[in-house]
């Protein structure tokens, strides 16, 4: 791979991480906004109470809402933390289902904006593979991003993992109408996709016009 392609790959990886962070901060801001308004509402209720008698049920409802938002935030932080640690080592034991789960959760906000939902059909008790988890996520992200821009609203994207000829297969299956977006060029070139696949020792088969993509990753890295 030439110097320019290397630079493009680094840019696209940073862009990927940036997108994940943007989606995450959007989610957390929303949860915190609800916490703040809820706390403010309790404040209002106490200050504006016409008597000393309080409706404890109303207060409990607000407290439970705050707890729920804090819980959701913690869940998001957990997924972001897991995602961040995927970049610790270039070769490590990987549970592909967990990697895909992180992508689904962290990209949920973007999909939701376009009224597209993710579905998952994960292999039970997947085999642990030796590979580069961050690169696997980067590769899958590019296909998901393409679908998020080309699929019509109210579509679904199914992410399926299954064993295949001694490898792990990740199927990305769009379920919906593909919009005609003209001749917009994908940011991630085929050269970069091929390079990353070669790095992972994997293969790709993809249907034309935004159809199903199947990525296979060998159990042991080459």
């Amino acid at each position: 791979m030439g110097n320019k392609d290397e630079q493009d790959l680094r840019f696209l990886q940073l862009r990927f991480i940036g997108k994940i962070l943007a989606g995450f901060t959007h989610e957390i801001k929303n949860h915190l906004a609800i916490v703040k308004e809820s706390a403010g509402l309790m404040d209002d209720m106490i200050k504006m109470a016409k008597s000393d008698k309080i409706d404890s049920r109303q207060y409990l409802d607000i407290i439970h809402l705050i707890e729920e938002q804090v819980g959701k935030s913690i869940e998001h932080f957990t997924y972001l933390n897991r995602f961040a640690h995927r970049m610790d080592l270039p070769l490590t034991k990987v549970n592909v289902n967990d990697c895909m789960e992180e992508l689904i959760v962290l990209l949920h906000r973007f999909a939701n904006q376009k009224r597209i939902s993710f579905e998952k059909e994960f292999q039970k008790d997947p085999q642990t593979i030796n590979s580069n988890p961050s690169m696997i996520q980067f590769l899958v992200f590019n296909f998901l991003e393409e679908l998020l821009t080309t699929l019509d609203k109210n579509s679904r994207i199914l992410i399926k993992t299954e064993p295949l000829n001694g490898s792990v297969a990740i199927r990305i299956i769009p379920k919906g109408n593909i919009l005609d977006t003209g001749t917009e060029k994908a940011l991630c070139s085929q050269e970069i996709i091929d390079y990353v696949l070669a790095m992972l020792g994997g293969t790709l088969s993809k249907q034309k016009d935004g159809g199903e993509a199947v990525i296979t990753i060998p159990v042991a890295a080459s």
Partner: protein, 154 residues
């Protein structure tokens, strides 16, 4: 119209946020309804026109800016306050260019928001009274421009 009869529509896809904010505004003597996306907001407008809309930007389906544009086309006199956690300076510029009354970033102080809502309503009221005065003098074009907030206020 008394200030306490101000009708507000809060539009935000985060239902818990919209409902909690609505409750707080109701405690401040405002009449508040909610909508959870742009399409629902536009549909609500046909049933009952509010005086002021508090509108989020990043929502599923129609983006808040698109909603603002549609509102201003159909209801030029409607006052819209953008309330967003994710707006940029450009968003603020665009919102004001499209006729948004104000642009507030979340988290917003409730008293500040209430003040803005009342200010927006007051401005709308003054514009309406001014338009009526011109219409009574037969200056219908001027009256129309005032209602659309196109008239030079000097």
């Amino acid at each position: 119209m008394k200030q306490k009869d101000i009708k507000v529509l809060v539009v935000d896809d985060e239902k818990d946020f919209a409902n909690t904010l609505a409750q707080r505004l109701k405690m401040r003597d405002l009449k508040v309804g909610t909508a959870y996306d742009g399409e629902q907001a536009l549909s609500r407008l046909k049933e009952e026109e509010p005086d002021v809309i508090v509108l989020d930007l990043k929502m599923p389906g129609m983006h808040g800016m698109e909603v603002l544009e549609e509102i201003k086309k159909a209801y030029p006199e409607m006052q819209v306050i953008i309330l967003t956690g994710h707006g940029t300076d450009k968003d603020e510029e665009d919102a004001k260019r499209l006729g948004g009354f104000d642009f507030i970033k979340k988290p917003a102080d409730i008293d500040h928001l209430e003040h803005k809502i009342r200010r927006a309503f007051q401005e709308k009221l003054e514009r309406t009274m001014s338009a009526i005065a011109f219409a009574e003098e037969g200056e219908f074009d001027t009256a129309r421009k005032i209602l659309k907030d196109e008239e030079d206020k000097d």
